[in-house]
Assembly symmetry: C2
Homo-oligomer: 431 residues x 2
């Protein structure tokens, strides 16, 4: 007779003592001492000690349990007792079923006693998630997704779903994956940029969190070929308001993680309290000046490279915005300041990692066409996009945030592959 | 001098009367009567009447406003007054800027006075969203997404993000879109099936809401080539528990819509209160018998077709489960009942629309390999998937729910394209 099933091992309390409980999970550890076997049972919520007494179970069960391979799955019934001497909770087993046996040896050690290289972890991803530290990354990722959505919902943004197979990419075709689409050629979306802009026609605030694809060969610790992006777009707002919302979004997430996900942050040795100061806002011109001050030669008009950012990170270690980039090195849809070649744009950096790209968009169709031509794009290919700007398009701005990169920072990891369940890079299409 | 900006026209209250306000939006209607122009200003939250008095503005502004095209975007400042005679709120304009003019004529009438065909609506999607009824569909969709996520979060499910480019599909290659992946061949995911099963190794409850792709040529009112699916998987649960959770999920969503999204339901003429009864659960055998009773010949073992479901919908008009399908017509990963050729599976139907497919999965590697071979799959291609079943895989079950189809039902629409912003079918890769 079982009184209840214990799903969450952290929810065990005094009211359950001396009752019959059922539990399931995997065997993390097993020690046989004379006529007793001690099993450490784990599930995603925590662990529980099971005790099997030789004289209380059948000989067959005793043998089975004595030979059980670690990480095997069991279902057990027994009496839950509080061992007062050691102040631990134990389940004295009456019945136990081995539901599935694990092979031996396993490709990695889920107890975390033996470290594994990243390739082995990724090749054995699901097993690696039994390691408490790795599990914490994905719990933190889940929590962050929840807080980011909360933030948008609290601010009256509408969640949208835009298509991922397109007839054309937002910013030209060089880094697009091609797809057979019946008798046509399709491309996988790099971002929801054009769609979220089109929707400004009817909704003032939209957001989307989804998968995007970029066919770049670069194999760095911060690049993936499939990634999750957090995008928003809102009407009638300027660059300062958009940066404010971006900063609020990240701080809302961090504050909630500090408050509610402190166990995961502790497991990951991640201290987020340093990131709650006002984010610096410096101009592109400031960056050029700073770099030259640091004896790192850089001319106005050049793009800021990864190496520049490493040099710059001496001055800026946390989150900071770089604003007012030259229009020429920003995409065609970014609006310019009046009477200058500078754009109403910003990037959010975390040290040398680019996290966000955003700005005010052009909302007048003639300016947009002019900029497309300047960027070498054929406006005929953008006919269905451009026409929406003739139907009463409001001014608007927005941004795209690399969600996996944000999690890499929040989870205090060095490689973006560590925070993605099944990462995709040039060499990794499996598992 | 402006005292405040009114974002939501439904939030206007007495405390704002006789103060200076700024508003933005599009001009829905314009009537000029002698020395007054009445403008109906709209945004996504509602509408507001603007009044321009000839003797209070410059001649230039008067002329501009008198000639404004409908659906153009304006920003206006003025005094907010309560017209007690007609009991309406009006803004007496002091300043007005035309931010972007709409062309005339537009491809469709956003006021809703003139109906448009579905193709015109989809070709002019962003403009169509200014129609209140169409806007309500996407508000309802946003709300449903929110409630579905709430449900999973409340039930301790972990949100996961699995890859959309795969080296192989879950159920063979016939209906997969192919993609160039550097020097390899990739496929677009049809479902997260194999990944969510692998993750059962470490998490007992996972869910994912994401885009999936199916290269089927069928051009029906219920099929799209890109769709959003709600998937969950949980460990140690049987078919009854999985159906219960499915039913709870849908009723949680419906109850919240009835309570919080009643305006949208009213706009869409959707009465959901009929769907709160217990969902019928009938077996595949019952369906065969019912069909034969209805003089519609059907033999055991045949798949249930669309036409069969139409015939059956005479008896089952709302949500109902069909359980215990022959194993032979279910995918390789579905577990069978002991001592029969029936599977522990279910579909959830809404009248003749298939909404959900789910069941208990095989968790023993030898059974899985046997079934793969029986289905004509090469187990070599599933090596990385199969190995996870050797690492201590718990029993598990789950389902996939066609989110767009659910919204089609909840929003009381006849064609799935109506509830998707930018639908993808064989003939539609744009906009």
């Amino acid at each position: 007779m079982t009184d209840f099933y214990i799903e969450n091992f952290e929810n065990i309390d005094e009211s359950m003592y001396n009752k019959n409980a059922q539990v399931t999970g995997w065997i993390e550890d097993s020690r046989s001492i004379g006529s007793l076997i001690f099993l450490t049972l784990k599930n995603s919520t925590g662990k529980l000690q099971l005790i099997i007494k030789k004289n209380q179970v059948s000989e067959e069960l005793w043998k089975q349990v004595d030979n059980i391979t670690r990480q095997s799955i069991v279902k057990a019934n027994g009496k839950l007792v509080h061992n007062e001497k050691n102040n631990i909770i134990e389940l004295i087993i009456e019945e136990l079923n081995i539901l599935n046996e694990a092979v031996h040896p396993l490709p990695l050690d889920p107890t975390g006693r033996v470290d594994s290289g990243l390739d082995i972890i990724l090749d054995s991803r699901s097993l690696s998630l039994r390691k408490p530290e790795i599990k914490s990354i994905f719990k933190l990722r889940n929590d962050s997704l929840m807080y980011i959505r909360d933030f948008f919902i609290n601010n009256d943004f509408l969640e949208i779903n835009t298509p991922k197979i397109l007839s054309l990419g937002a910013e030209g075709g060089a880094t697009l994956f091609k797809t057979e689409y019946f008798d046509k050629l399709g491309f996988l979306a790099q971002s929801p940029q054009l769609y979220k802009e089109q929707l400004m026609l009817a909704f003032e605030k939209v957001f989307e969190i989804s998968h995007y694809f970029r066919a770049e060969k670069s194999n760095t610790t911060r690049h993936l070929n499939e990634f999750v992006s957090v995008d928003f777009e809102w009407a009638y707002k300027n660059n300062e308001q958009t940066m404010d919302l971006c900063e609020d979004l990240i701080k809302y997430t961090i504050n909630n993680l500090i408050k509610n996900s402190f166990k995961e942050l502790k497991n990951l040795d991640s201290d987020l309290s340093n990131y709650l100061n006002k984010f610096d806002r410096i101009t592109y011109q400031n960056v050029i000046d700073d770099l030259n001050d640091l004896d790192h030669k850089k001319s106005f008009g050049e793009d800021i490279t990864e190496h520049d950012l490493v040099v710059l990170s001496e001055k800026h270690k946390s989150f900071y915005f770089i604003t007012d980039w030259p229009s020429e090195i920003k995409p065609f849809y970014i609006a310019g300041h009046k009477d200058s070649d500078l754009s109403m744009s910003f990037d959010l950096q975390f040290s040398n990692v680019e996290l966000v790209s955003g700005g005010v968009r052009i909302h007048k169709v003639d300016e947009l066409e002019k900029n497309m031509k300047k960027s070498g794009l054929d406006i005929k290919n953008f006919k269905s996009h451009l026409q929406t700007f003739k139907w009463g398009m409001p001014p608007h701005s927005g941004l795209g945030l690399g969600f996996d990169r944000l999690i890499m920072i929040l989870a205090n990891r060095k490689n973006i592959r560590e925070v993605v369940l099944y990462p995709r890079d040039k060499d990794r299409l499996e598992p």
